[in-house]
């Protein structure tokens, strides 16, 4: 098996959905020609960031083999996910790739005790052969997230706080000793005073257990805080990607610039500049159907060519940017690189 040293390799994937009935309907491209990869020997936290409708959740479902791409392929440890057919192969795969969902209270069935999921996971993945061994495995996983089996035993989801149950959710994902965790907005439903403990947990997993994390979020501030690399998505495209400090400190794509500028800073110092007028986007469907760059309608530096064809991916420093400004079409190729 050749892995090319890649843990995960996403190659030009496109996902199209039919919206509407059997006949007619429109084609919506939720993910458009997206590529990125994670190295096998260098665990990292990789963020997929974007607003609602950017395709980040669709992309995550693709990586969990919840969906199949219309075009392109996803390789995990060198294996094309679309060749996974048998149940045993699927089990083998998800043993190594585990999800953490957004709403901790929806992650577990409200009518079941949370430990049931943990014990099931341990037994289903062959981490333990009987309930007693399973309890030990589970307890270990829970200790990794700062809890213990005794604290959650006999508890229903609503009897735990949002922060606790989200940690249980991470613990469940850790039981099978996965190589990769996909966390879809894991802290957006968790209170501010509990948020950082979960965010810090992902860093701990990366550093102490060599687990890679794909962090899916709309929140650029936490993304900046925990991730190593980031990819910004807009209407199905990855418009800019690279090391998080480069992308967010010196955004190159005009969309990333707008996004960064719009995030309210938790200090009253920039009130006046934050409050200056901005152009709001067209409705979602309109931007999806746009030919060429999806941001052309709102871009302050728009050129004719932007409305004609998809921009190419251009390397700007350590960033990859999907924008004509940097492909020799723009006069001010360095426009975005000012601080």
């Amino acid at each position: 098996m050749s892995t090319n040293g890649k843990l995960l390799d996403v190659q030009h994937v496109t996902v199209e959905f039919h919206i509407g009935g059997l006949v007619g309907g429109t084609l919506l491209t939720a993910v458009n020609d997206a590529s990125f990869s994670l190295e096998s020997d260098k665990p990292e936290i990789f963020t997929l960031a974007g607003e609602s409708g950017s395709g980040k959740t669709t992309l995550s479902r693709l990586l969990l083999r919840d969906l199949e791409p219309t075009k392109g392929k996803v390789l995990f440890e060198g294996r094309d996910l679309s060749t996974i057919r048998k149940r045993s192969e699927f089990t083998e795969f998800i043993k190594k790739v585990q999800p953490v969902f957004q709403n901790p209270f929806e992650t577990f069935n409200p009518l079941r005790r949370v430990e049931a999921y943990l014990l099931d996971t341990a037994i289903n993945f062959g981490m333990a052969s009987n309930r007693r061994d399973a309890a030990e495995v589970v307890d270990n996983a829970l200790r990794n997230v700062g809890l213990s089996l005794d604290e959650v035993r006999q508890r229903y989801p609503h009897e735990l706080s949002g922060g606790q149950i989200q940690r249980v959710s991470v613990a469940r994902a850790l039981i099978s000793k996965p190589r990769l965790i996909l966390a879809d907005e894991p802290v957006s439903m968790v209170d501010a005073s509990l948020r950082m403990e979960i965010v810090n947990l992902f860093q701990k997993l990366r550093d102490e257990q060599q687990v890679s994390v794909i962090y899916i979020t709309h929140d650029l501030a936490t993304a900046y805080y925990i991730s190593d690399r980031i990819a910004i998505m807009l209407r199905g495209y990855i418009v800019e990607s690279g090391p998080v400090e480069d992308v967010l400190d010196r955004p190159a794509h005009p969309y990333t610039q707008l996004l960064k500028e719009s995030v309210p800073e938790p200090t009253p110092k920039q009130r006046e500049s934050w409050a200056k007028h901005i152009a709001l986007g067209a409705t979602e469907v309109k931007e999806y159907g746009r030919i060429g760059c999806k941001f052309a309608g709102r871009c302050p530096q728009v050129m004719d060519i932007c409305r004609k064809a998809d921009p190419p991916d251009v390397q700007v420093g350590r960033q990859t940017v999907k924008c004509y400004l940097y492909s020799g079409h723009g006069e001010n190729a360095a426009a975005g690189s000012q601080s």
């Binding site: 922060g163 805080y225 995030v263 309210p264 009253p268 009130r271 709001l280």
Partner: protein, 330 residues
């Protein structure tokens, strides 16, 4: 002159399920004033009592919610209203929407899915000022919507044809048809994307600046308060922890909870490790005694476990409820 004066408000939920009665002390001894012409921010985590507080001050107290003590008094340009004793009819006719209006949490769904936007405008306007001249009503509504920078097309649209941000702005337009003295905005941008959120908050600020009314902005997002509010009140477990002008709250917070909230916020451009508070917000059906923050407080003292700290003024317009401050330890 104050617009609203809330004194020592205590509002509990009393529920009974299968013979087990539960009392949730959602708002427990809250006092504050709203001034004319300001944006007053209320911050706090889920179930800290901020939603209950809004319910009571807007006259929406319904069982199982019950006000045990305290007073809620408004003064709308010499039209005085005692919110806890006003008759339903007067509340409905003279106060709601004429003096107090709302932009609700999840405003995206406040528009009736099967009626055009204009019909909701008509219902609300007709309720308070009978529409006699339909043409004039249409003209005025169009002008109003235009003034707020919205296209007039939205009036003839059904809600599902509008984007989330547009619906939220329509909701703001609805809330301001009568130029009310107070607009209560409850998590107005929680479900919105950052770019849209910025647009909506700008709109709220503009309206406030031009018409000089008061906005009560409730959100858990401290970053929003930092950029929009003039004064901020921090609630914790049904009580006020601290209240101060925005600059003071962010530059020199006194309550350990406020300090944590502000220092734990991640920022773009800064990667230093942010700590999390231990434990979780208390269950208000069985809150801890003394200061309700004491089980999580890094500076807890013996007195905190037994005595409820008073909300004291430390400076002009800066109040805090913490024993550390009382004893000058900070």
């Amino acid at each position: 002159m104050t617009l609203l004066s809330v004194k020592n408000l205590r509002a509990y939920y009393r529920t009974e399920v299968y013979g087990i009665s539960r009392t949730v002390q959602a708002v427990d001894g809250v006092s504050f004033d709203l001034l004319p012409n300001e944006i007053y921010g209320v911050a706090g985590e889920s179930s800290c009592g901020k939603t209950t507080l809004i319910k009571v001050i807007s006259g929406n107290t319904k069982p199982p919610l019950k006000v045990l003590e305290g007073s809620v008094n408004y003064n709308f340009n010499d039209y005085k209203v005692d919110m806890l004793h006003i008759s339903q009819d007067e509340l409905r006719q003279n106060v709601r929407w004429k003096e107090i209006s709302y932009v609700m949490q999840g405003s995206m769904s406040v528009l009736n899915p099967v009626r055009k936007v204009i019909e909701t405008f008509r219902d609300i306007v007709d309720t308070h000022e009978r529409i006699t001249d339909k043409k004039k009503f249409l003209e005025q509504t169009r002008a109003h919507v235009n003034r707020l920078g919205l296209p007039t097309d939205v009036l003839n649209a059904y809600p599902h044809q509008l984007s989330g941000g547009m619906r939220q702005r329509v909701a703001i337009a609805l809330a301001t048809v009568f130029q009310p003295a107070l607009i209560i905005a409850d998590e107005p941008t929680t479900a919105l994307d950052v770019v849209v959120q910025r647009g909506v908050l700008q709109m709220i600020r503009e309206i406030q600046t031009t018409s000089g009314n008061t906005v009560l902005l409730v959100t858990h997002d401290m970053a929003v308060h930092a950029n929009v509010a003039d004064r901020v009140m921090i609630m914790y477990a049904g009580r006020i922890a601290e209240e101060a002008p925005t600059e003071t709250i962010f530059d020199a917070p006194l309550h350990p909870y406020t300090q944590h909230l502000i220092h734990s916020l991640p920022m773009i451009g800064e990667k230093s490790t942010k700590a999390s508070l231990k434990g979780a917000p208390p269950n208000l059906a069985d809150p801890p005694g003394g200061c309700r923050f004491h089980p999580r407080c890094p500076y807890v003292m013996d007195v905190c476990r037994t005595k409820v700290p008073d909300l004291i003024s430390v400076k002009e317009r800066h109040r805090v409820a913490c024993h550390l401050v009382e004893e000058g330890a900070l």
